[in-house]
Amino acid sequence: MSGPALILVLLAFSAVAFHLGRRRAFAVSASAGGVKNLHSLPSYYGGLTALWCALPAVVVLGLWVSFESSIVENLVVAGLPEETRALPPERLNLVVNDIRNLAEGNIVSGEVVPEMRAAADHYLELRRTAAAASAVVVLCVAIVGASLAWRRVSPSLRARNQVEQIVRVLLIASSTVAIFSTLGIVLSVLFEAIRFFGHVPIADFLFGLDWSPQMAIREDQVGSSGAFGAIPLFAGTLLISFIAMTVAAPIGLFAAIYLAEYATSAFRSVAKPVLEILAGIPTVVYGFFAALIVAPAIRDTGAIIGLDVASESALAAGLVMGVMIIPFVSSLSDDVINAVPQALRDGSYALGATRSETIRQVVLPAALPGIVGGLLLAISRAIGETMIVVMAAGLAANLTANPLQAVTTVTVQIVTLLVGDQEFDSPKTLVAFALGLVLFVVTLCLNVIALRVVRKYREQYD
């Protein structure tokens, strides 16, 4: 039985359990002198039975799914010939991959030998058995759970309280998903990054000036060690983010000021949604726009005025990224500017200040912490932006501050290194996680500072 079908059957079981539990509540109430003598409404008894039916079964199913593939793989490996099992782990992994591909009818990297064919059959059979066994076990657990609950139904059973307690635990579990996501991110990038730092010293990575990870793929090549100095990537990321912010910060800020302080409500009701459209456009669309329209336009313009512009110039990616970030800056600044109390503006106007004097000398200084927080969030977004730079910035790790040249960024390299086939023991793959770690730590710091600044600011005027 496949996963989705099993879940549907489980749902049906729970529905039946609900019905049975509720019926039993009516039945026991008859002897106790009517429904009003039950502790809870009959449907709560049904609900309790249904929860006891579904929850343990789902837990068992989850555990099963998590461990099935590794157990099956171990069993398959155990059935392989002696000399294959003696292979080093990474080669063994390849063999297992091949067996899996063979079983699923995909293209296999090596030549198909009879042992592999047998192993693939073995694998398929194990999977079939596992699927059947999981269905049986899960449904048994469901039936046992439901019948246990069903037997406990009695007028004195505090069904409502128990149901509410269970639901409460489920609610808490849902809200901890956020913690587990963060934990998952930290663990996943941290472990692989540590493995990488086992190959390459952390100082060489953080402060090295030379980046050419492609070399590391084959050991017999010249320069096989590869170079993992990430400084050119950091510089490229900063250059593009800087260009983006020089576009987005003034435009976003002035747009927000105009909308908050000058615009009539009719103009605001048109201009604000237009800015929001900019925020809703997928980044891949911006990437296409940067690579196919803006970059050639900049190159041609450069050619006319006699400048040598790379076809994947940092300028094109940065400009388009800036456009993407404009609504981000403007909506955050708009909120912040609107939070400045009207009394401050009135005080300034009453002294005879003009609107712009009031904005520059009273409103903006008052809103400054909030605006800085918003700009920090915008920078964090620029640093982490991926699609625009993957499509419009280059791969060449140039260490330059010239916006007309091609540079590469952290995110571009992560994508380049991890798309396609990977070996999880080569520094070439692992370095992507080290870059991911750096990216995560930097954006996390920016976000935490920014969110704290903005929160402090909000509290000040609440």
């Binding site: 799914v65 998590s66 590794s70 409502r160 639901v167 409460r168 489920l170 609610l171 808490i172 849902s174 809200s175 956020a178 913690i179 996501s181 998952g184 991110i185 996943s188 990038v189 800020l253 747009a255 105009y258 909308l259 237009v274 800015l275 900019l278 456009i281 997928p282 891949v284 669309v285 296409f288 726009f289 196919l292 329209i293 404009i326 609504p327 403007s330 003009t354 609107r355 712009s356 904005i359 520059r360 964090s380 977004r381 982490g384 991926t386 699609m387 993957v390 499509m391 995110t411 994508v415 991890l418 798309v419 992507a432 991911g436 990216l439 954006t443 996390l444 976000n447 935490v448 969110l451």
Partner: protein, 428 residues
């Protein structure tokens, strides 16, 4: 009138200066908004201008004789023989018959290049469906090759020297002959909506990617909506102020700002490497997108719950309802429109997301249309990314068209959210 510091000449001069500064400042604001709107307009016009022609495709009408000799069928008519017959040969023969003057291998190859390689597949499908056609002649429409399509649509400049363009002079001549014979027509490009990906632009479609997006979004919706609402209810209605709650809040706010590619790394190392889920599957994509959308949904749902006035809760509690009953019977129904709005906006974000999906292998070239959430597939934005990388001019057009389709979906979803908000917005 008395003169004071405020009515003096010097003051009048200063005032004029201040007024000028005021006008300048105001102009900056107008310029900023104009620039933003201009950027948006440029983006839309360039994409629509590049892409609208992709909804049409050039077809060539061929007089095909299903000659069993050319097909290499002999007397056999069984499906096996039919499916393995020499259809490319038949197409070539048809082309040669139309232009009997073409001699030489190079010219002949150029001639065959006018029609799409998909023509042979079309004829095969047709014969497999109706074997009785063998031996007969009929006029069928086959798609033109993408370069010819570009030529007919005017994207290839015929004045450019021959060596610099992809369509050669003799091909242009043949196409003009065909045009005069009325054999070339432009029709609605159905393949774009019904086909999966292809290396040939004229055969490539977005259906596979759209179905992949659909599966991924279904997984995302099924997980993120219940979890997001449950988390919001707990945080807003039950959670005591303690360190755990604080930790959860900080985490939610941070996750909302973590770069999306980091979620891709999480998906790659946890879902694929640790749990052994299949690569390129919409299921894994949906899981990753769930984690990304959750903060959006939780934040929106909490705002919706906050907007329900406490008096309603007090009224229900005062009737003797339990806290859980109060929430399920009274608070949730009132907060539901706001929660749904947030969910739709979260889904729209998920639909446009591509970077984390590159990490989990949804970037493969996949021709088949996925049949379930475990089949390898790609999604619309990644399809756009893949096509944007292709050098053919025809793919630029199709990329723009795919972007238009994606934007249409996004606009629809956002419009739905706006309508929902307008319809159910309630002032207390």
């Amino acid at each position: 009138m008395r003169t004071s510091v405020h009515t003096s000449e010097a003051m009048a001069r200063r005032l004029a200066k201040r007024r000028a500064a005021e006008r300048r400042f105001r102009a900056y604001g107008i310029v900023a908004i104009t620039l933003a709107i201009l950027a948006l307009a440029t983006l839309f016009t360039s994409i629509v201008g590049n892409g609208y022609t992709a909804f049409q495709q050039t077809y060539i009408a061929l007089e095909v004789t299903y000659d069993p000799e050319v097909l290499g069928l002999g007397e056999a008519r069984d499906p096996k023989a039919l499916s393995g017959a020499n259809y490319p040969g038949l197409v070539k023969k048809t082309m040669r018959d139309m232009f009997p003057d073409v001699k030489g291998r190079k010219d002949k190859r150029a001639l065959y290049g006018i029609v799409s390689s998909g023509a042979a597949f079309m004829i095969r499908e047709r014969l497999l469906a109706d074997p009785g056609l063998v031996g007969r002649t009929e006029r069928i429409r086959v798609p033109a090759d993408d370069d010819i399509d570009m030529l007919v649509k005017g994207h290839i400049d015929r004045q450019v020297p021959e060596a610099e363009r992809r369509v050669k002079d003799n091909q242009i001549g043949w196409v003009e002959t065909l045009e005069e014979a009325g054999r070339i027509e432009r029709r609605f490009n159905t393949a774009f909506f019904t086909a999966g990906d292809s290396r040939e632009p004229e055969l490539a479609g977005i259906r596979g990617a759209a179905v992949g997006s659909l599966y991924a979004l279904l997984v995302t919706l099924a997980l993120s909506f219940p979890i997001g609402v449950a988390a919001a209810v707990y945080l807003e209605e039950f959670a005591p102020t303690n360190r755990l709650t604080d930790l959860i809040e900080v985490n939610i706010n941070n996750l909302a700002a973590v770069p999306s590619i980091i979620f891709g790394l999480l998906g790659l190392s946890i879902f694929i490497n640790f749990f052994g889920l299949p690569r390129s599957a919409p299921l894994v994509g949906g899981l990753v997108l769930t984690l990304m959308t959750l903060p959006t949904i939780i934040i929106a749902s909490r705002a919706a719950l906050k907007s329900v006035p406490p008096s309603i809760r007090e009224a229900a509690l005062g009737m003797g309802a339990s806290k859980m009953q109060t929430i399920t019977h009274h608070v949730l129904p009132l907060a539901m429109p706001g929660m749904l709005t947030g969910t739709i906006i979260g889904m729209a974000q998920a639909l446009g997301e591509s970077a984390p999906l590159l990490m989990i292998g949804m970037v493969a070239f996949i021709v088949d249309i996925p049949g379930g959430p475990l089949d390898p597939s790609t999604v619309l934005p990644v399809q756009i990314f893949l096509w944007a990388d292709s050098p053919e001019r025809a793919f630029v057009e199709r990329t723009s068209a795919a972007i238009m389709v994606l934007l249409a979906f996004l606009i629809t979803m956002n419009a739905l959210a706006v309508v929902l908000r307008r319809r159910f917005e309630r002032r207390w």
